[in-house]
Subunit: 502 residues, 2 copies
């Protein structure tokens, strides 16, 4: 049975190849897709094939690729592989895409996820020519039922001149009802308050109002989301999660947090999943979550009755959990809400709700600055994603990381980070498998001692203390003492010798 | 005539000396005061005298000093001079205070102004023992009429165990009615939407509800605010303002801004005043402002009928304008609203209204990162203040600076900033007297060329291009290419030779 119940939309059904032929060199395209879910699967691959043919004929063909966040091999991977991407924003995590960014083939604008849609809409990136949006279904009366992510879809469809809809039969029809699409979004001066006062509050509709006049093609597909398996929990992740949960328990004990905490946000990844797994065994009940993505651990918490409301913009599930979600989506829709990313990541609800943020990092420095994006100062890894949205506005903002990488050759704690994404003003707690540094209310020189002693790996503590002590002794101030000539020596050593150790 | 109309409050009147005697070593004190206005004048000086006496007796006596923002010699200056400040937050600009921070006598936590009050209230800094708040008057029924700033006063009075009120007869009684005190502020999970949808909208009361049971003293004073004169406008400031106003005019022309722009925010200082002065002669009408401070130039715009609503948390006026304000406060109260700083600087209204932010900087780098606080990486100047609140959430975020300082020995554009306050993700436009770089929607390597060519002083362009070109040629990526060994050479050269020039 077709998922395109509307007759007038059925009349616009085309093959992916025919739809892709509507795309021209130089166009800026807003694709759906967030952390490997809800991205169009057919049109981008057909487009990649046409770009390759054009390149083989010696013609120029590159497009601007704007998404919600990361996508998958069928979108980022396929288009990057044919050198088809001129400019990419706001986030990616695909190996091929990353390669093209770092080799200079593609320009990449690493943007806050909450800003990305509205800023494109406002014209910061020029004109948006096209939106390509995955749906679960189009109803008889022409409503668009979202699929496994909402992302920037509302902004893309509002801003774009034309729309291609890709209806994916793999997506569960049970998803209908899970989404919360708020039509209060606007450009200033027409914005109004976002009325959310609890993570589980619904404020909108369960579907997109589609603009029929803009829709130039409807494509049918049947392909699964990326659904990357999580690694099994390791001891390091468990330790880090343990420190964080102990910290939260103490905040409750001190009367600084309610017994059911405040809405939890967690970045994507194994440590985040370990935290969620720890919560499963922990004392907290009636938890809520106001975050970007629904991960495996959250599904377990819902099943256990511990997580009573989970707000996000997308799934980021392993294949088994994706199957479980697809089979029981209508049931999970009682607890899970998928919103636009300019609502899920908006400072307004994040600050109002008092979200407890917990995000990964690449490196932190002794004064509490955090690098989330760059390897050794120059090389882009993934992007800042939503970490800035949550970190800056959280009630408490924690960062988690193993204390070393590359078998101990890289220290996650360095004298000065080689790229800054979150500044000293925005970082409250840093946690490694070594321990937890609570740097709230501390001046930089107090933070330094705590971060080195609590978080750095023992192999690096002495050289960090040595840098700090000599900085205090020789810098032009005792506020944030640095020896600029040596501030990046850890990184330089790694680049030259393969280890940050002397 | 007394300004303390309430009989029960009159019974609590004490001398500043007697009130100060209630303050003990180690206390954390929330003082009123923002950009040199509305700070208590008598109690801090009496406290400083008592601290000096204690130190002369060999006793320990230091307190924590929390304010709205900067204060003046009578508060920061007096307490710093006697080594009386253990910890200082969230902002200062006093030479003595700065000296004690950089010499290590006082710890300083440089915090976002919007977060400062709520985070103290939430317990990030331990217990708040006392609030010392300047008022214009106490009414017969015990209401507190705010003075020339609101700042963190609501948070301090909510969080503190005890309150000392300082009623300053110098403040104009005409101020009554200008303030907008919203009692919707709370700690999560009890926060509600801030209902502001236009800069000029009033949402609260014109007075503080005082908690009589907490008030341990009422002190009367009669002293002017700091009221620093602005320097006369110079050619450089005029040029920078001109570029900014041309940019705004073009945004209107392109249909990206309404004809009356969006609410303006401007940092404190001479370039900001030049922008305001330029608006006086410019084509824009029905302007609004959603900012931190009311500066001289805004008063002129109000007088000219060009600025129809001005929202801030404090005055930052020159002595002449302060007199003019005091004489005509009731009239200006039709246009000016003074709010709590956790409302004036809150991401929620800033992002909703689409504020156009314009702030100064110490240095920017070729990739668009901004340092607002530190001299040569280590030495604290003033603090981040509200620049992060506005910059991160603005519709368009501009930074302004002369291209050089110290007679050309310091370049405001450097390969890598020596301290990061605003990251590449948050900076849209950089302006110097050389020109304007609109870096919206650009990848780092495109930004670099534009910033060097448009903003750097010609004396520094060649060495900046040289650094960039060699970074592209040798770094491990074309995304944000750096040569870490040389990234701070400008600063190192200045520290060693007194000039950034080779």
């Amino acid at each position: 049975m077709t998922r395109v119940a509307s007759e007038q939309y059925r009349a616009k059904i085309k093959s992916a190849e025919d739809a892709a032929r509507l795309i021209k060199n130089g166009m800026n395209i807003g694709f759906s897709g967030f952390t490997g879910s809800g991205y169009p699967k057919a049109v981008p691959q057909a487009l990649a094939a046409q770009i390759k043919e054009a390149h083989d004929r010696g013609e120029q063909f590159q497009v601007g690729v704007f998404t919600g966040a990361s996508t998958a091999p069928e979108l980022d991977g396929a288009l990057a592989a044919v050198d088809g991407i001129k400019i990419r924003m706001p986030y990616q995590s695909d190996p091929d895409m990353r390669g093209k960014i770092n080799s200079g083939v593609s320009q990449y604008v690493d943007a806050h996820l909450s800003h990305s849609g509205p800023q494109v809409w406002a014209g910061h990136y020029g004109k948006l020519d096209l939106a390509v949006i995955e749906l679960t279904a189009i109803t008889e009366d022409g409503r668009g039922i979202p699929s496994s992510s909402v992302g920037n879809n509302v902004s893309w469809m509002a801003a774009a001149d034309a729309i291609i809809l890709e209806v994916n039969h793999w997506q569960s029809e049970g998803l209908e009802g899970m989404h919360d699409i708020w039509d209060g979004v606007a450009l200033p001066p027409n914005r109004i308050p976002i009325p959310i006062t609890s993570a589980g509050q619904r404020i909108g509709k369960t579907y997109y109002d589609l603009d029929f006049s803009k829709v130039i093609a409807v494509v049918e597909s049947d392909s699964p989301d990326r659904n990357t398996p999580f690694k099994p929990l390791d001891d390091e992740s468990r330790k880090i999660a343990g420190y964080y949960l102990d910290f939260l328990a103490n905040e409750v004990k001190q009367g600084r947090l309610p017994e059911n905490l405040l809405p939890l946000q967690s970045g994507v990844g194994n440590i985040a999943n370990a935290v969620l797994s720890g919560l499963l065994e922990g004392p907290f009940e009636n938890l809520t979550s106001y975050t970007e993505v629904i991960q495996d651990g959250m599904v377990d918490l819902i099943d256990a009755g511990k997580l009573v409301a989970a707000s996000a913009t997308a799934f980021s599930l392993s294949p088994d959990y994706a199957t479980q979600m697809n089979d029981n989506a209508a049931e999970y829709a009682k607890t899970i809400i998928l919103r636009q990313q300019d609502i899920s990541n908006h400072p307004e609800p994040i600050r109002r709700l008092g979200v407890l943020a917990c995000n990964g990092l690449i490196e932190a420095d002794i004064y509490g600055n955090v690098n989330s994006t760059h390897i050794m100062g120059s090389r882009m890894q993934n992007g800042i994603g939503g970490s800035g949205d949550f970190t800056r506005n959280a009630h408490i903002s924690a960062f988690v990381t193993p204390s070393t990488a590359k078998g101990g050759q890289i220290s996650a704690i360095v004298p000065m980070v080689s790229h800054h994404d979150h500044t000293e003003h925005d970082v409250h707690v840093i946690i490694t498998e070594q321990g937890l540094a609570d740097i709230r209310g501390l001046a930089p020189i107090k933070r330094a001692k705590l971060i080195i002693d609590k978080c750095a790996h023992p192999d690096y503590r002495e050289i960090l203390h040595d840098y700090f002590d000599r900085s205090v002794a020789t810098a032009n101030s005792h506020h944030t003492p640095h020896i600029l000539r040596e501030a990046h020596d850890f990184h330089i050593r790694f680049l030259e010798t393969g280890t940050m150790l002397p």
